[in-house]
Amino acid sequence: MGKKDKTMRKYLLRRFLTMILTVFFISIITFIIIQLPPGDYVTNIINRMVSQGASSPSPEDVALLRKIYGLNDPMPVQYMKWIEKIIFQGKFGYSFTYQKDAIEIITARLPASFVLSLSSFMFVWIISLPIGIYSAVKKYSVGDYVVNFIGFVGLAIPSFLLALVCLYVSYKYFGVAAIGLFSKEFQNAPWSVARVIDLLKHLWIPMIIVGISGTAGLIRTLRANLLDELNKPYVDTARAKGLPEARLLWKYPVRHALNPFISTLGWMLPGLISGEVIVAIVLNLPTSGPILYNALASQDMYVAAGFLLLLSTLTVIGTFISDILLALLDPRIRFQ
């Protein structure tokens, strides 16, 4: 027992360190992206002031401003300052468009992103598990072919096109556009049971759209894994010993086939987040997608960077959790 704990702890530690390293790496990439657009923070401020009618500041003032904002420091120092503020003060930098710190905009939007991604995630899991098992057990049946076909189609439709088609269908045939996460009367209302119900009424469409390709992929993986398992001799042995088919299926092959299933969940997360961002832009959902898009379009770099950083971190944490689940389920993983 003690030995098992030790390997598990070691594995956890290693995975945790990788996670930190990944987030660090992503933060560097994000920082580089903020630096990419022409001009810096100070030129931005000046442009804004000039466009509002102020006279152009003298070169000395510009130099002073640069010094105040630390723009003369070498890149690594600037990076350290940026990341330090994020970690210790929770400040992501000033947003020009919104006239406040980026963190306020992010915290207003990120929870909805999280809810949408999480529900898509659940949707993927709940739908693909029974269908994948059915498809493997009833191999080459009509149902299997139908599932396969839908799976291929689901993989081939990019989520944002599906969202467009959904918009068209909902507007044309139901008279309402499937836009947003709340009805008008609940848009700015405080949280209540009625508001949650209203949210659920709107949530399912984007949830399905975001989850559909993940579902298709997962069904295929599960089917392939289960087919491999079902051909193994131990299944024949169990059957020969008279184990009821349902129990046999659930107790051994399904459990075994679930292993790659959970690791795929970790792999799927980047896709889900990507899908969430673009579908949200099309359907105009109050999640991070549209804000990230606007921030990038108007080069409001600190907001964009904050979203990039937090969305990626969310993904990395999700992958971390799925790896730990995997290690809990399958002791062999810990020794690799």
Partner: protein, 379 residues
């Protein structure tokens, strides 16, 4: 080889069946082809993909008119259906248009006019063009016999450009962005994967960690971020290559992993050792001995990664962060569909979405078939 030869001889001596004989002597590519041929869906998809690329190459010929000519007289006309029978005889035709005015908004409301019949022909002379900007011509695969007549199979857009022609013209960019991107990731994947797999040790470890990190990044937000940084005043060609590079940047890792695992598996094969003992240098060892033996696998993985790039370009251009007009790609065309009102009233502007769907589906099936065929010895 000798063993093979002997077996062949004995089969001949026994008058054995020729089919198994063929399998014994067939080249790897021939075996692949035989296996691929059995996969009906993949064959069909392969044909569709070839047709799509032909359309992209010769789009001036396939499209009834250029994707840029606008005829504002016919702005926003709905699609026409091609009819086969004319007065009991076989003959292609479409109906013309007529319009009424909306009493409130005074906008034109187009309807198909069953009274006017516009004869349509194959290989008709129409709008003159220059194929690839070089070869002049005026023959179009399909078009109205009288060039002046309206012929809009997929309807027209806001300024009266033919959507059907534009979808075909878009194929040139949309289909090749994937190819350029895949070519880049192919080079990067083989280089990094090869180094990682051949040299091994610490370097391999570091490269693998980096790949792991890159894979865990959600692609789309970073694609958006990078694409948003491409200056607006860049020429379409420069933007095009930049977008391909951006798409590559976060998608070469899968290929690198495949290459690495193949190199690792192959490092201990006898023929590699033999080549090394014969004094092959590393470059020759890789290009002449190792690469050919898993080329088929790579081709399959490459085919499977093209659809992702096509979707990526479409998404970026759709959001206005990728290619911009006057360049025309499926994503650029879909920009017109961003407003709900547009989709509701002019649904034919969604036509490029259908093109993307067909392309991606066909490519997926083709890649699947290739992947199965890449292992000809596996039943």
């Amino acid at each position: 080889m000798l063993k093979l030869f002997k077996r062949k001889k004995s089969v001949v001596a026994q008058g054995g069946d020729t089919e198994s004989l063929q399998v014994e002597v067939a080249s790897q590519w021939k075996l692949m082809w035989w296996k691929f041929r059995k996969h009906k869906l993949a064959m069909m998809s392969g044909v569709i993909v070839i047709i799509l690329y032909l359309m992209a190459i010769f789009c001036e010929f396939f499209a009834p008119r250029s994707g840029f000519t606008n005829n504002s007289k016919y702005a926003l006309v709905p699609p026409q259906a091609i009819h086969l029978l004319m007065d009991g005889k076989v003959g292609l035709y479409v109906f013309g248009y007529t319009y009424t005015r909306d009493p409130v908004s005074l906008q034109r409301i187009w309807v198909l006019d069953k009274a006017t019949i516009i004869p349509v022909g194959l290989f008709v002379r129409g709008e003159p063009y220059k194929l690839w900007g070089l070869i002049p011509g005026d023959i179009h695969l399909i078009g109205a016999r009288n060039t002046e007549d309206p012929f809009f199979l997929f309807g027209a857009d806001r300024i009266g450009r033919d959507v059907f022609s534009r979808v075909i013209f878009s194929a040139r960019i949309s289909l090749t962005v994937g190819l350029v991107g895949v070519a880049l990731s192919f080079i990067l994947g083989i280089l990094v994967g090869g180094i990682s797999g051949l040299i091994g040790g610490t370097l391999d470890n570091i490269i693998q960690r980096i790949i792991e990190i890159l894979i865990s990044i959600p692609t789309l937000p970073f694609w958006l971020a990078l694409a948003a940084m491409v200056p607006i005043n860049w020429s379409p060609l420069r933007t095009y290559f930049m977008i391909s590079m951006i798409l590559t940047l976060l998608s070469w890792m899968g290929l690198a992993r495949v290459v690495r695992s193949k190199f690792l598996a192959m490092r201990n094969e006898d023929f590699v050792l033999a080549a090394q003992l014969d004094g092959c240098n590393n470059m020759r060892l890789i290009t002449r001995h190792m690469l050919p033996s898993f080329m088929s696998h790579i081709i399959a993985s490459v085919t499977l990664s093209i659809p992702g790039m096509i979707i990526g370009e479409t998404a970026l251009s759709f959001l206005g962060l990728g290619l911009r007009p006057p360049a025309v790609s499926w994503g650029v065309m879909l920009q017109d569909c961003q407003k709900i009102v547009a989709i509701a009233n002019i649904p034919w502007l969604l036509a490029p979405a259908g093109a993307v769907f067909i392309t991606v589906l066909a490519m997926n099936f083709l890649g699947d078939g290739l992947r199965d065929a890449a292992d000809p010895y596996q039943s």
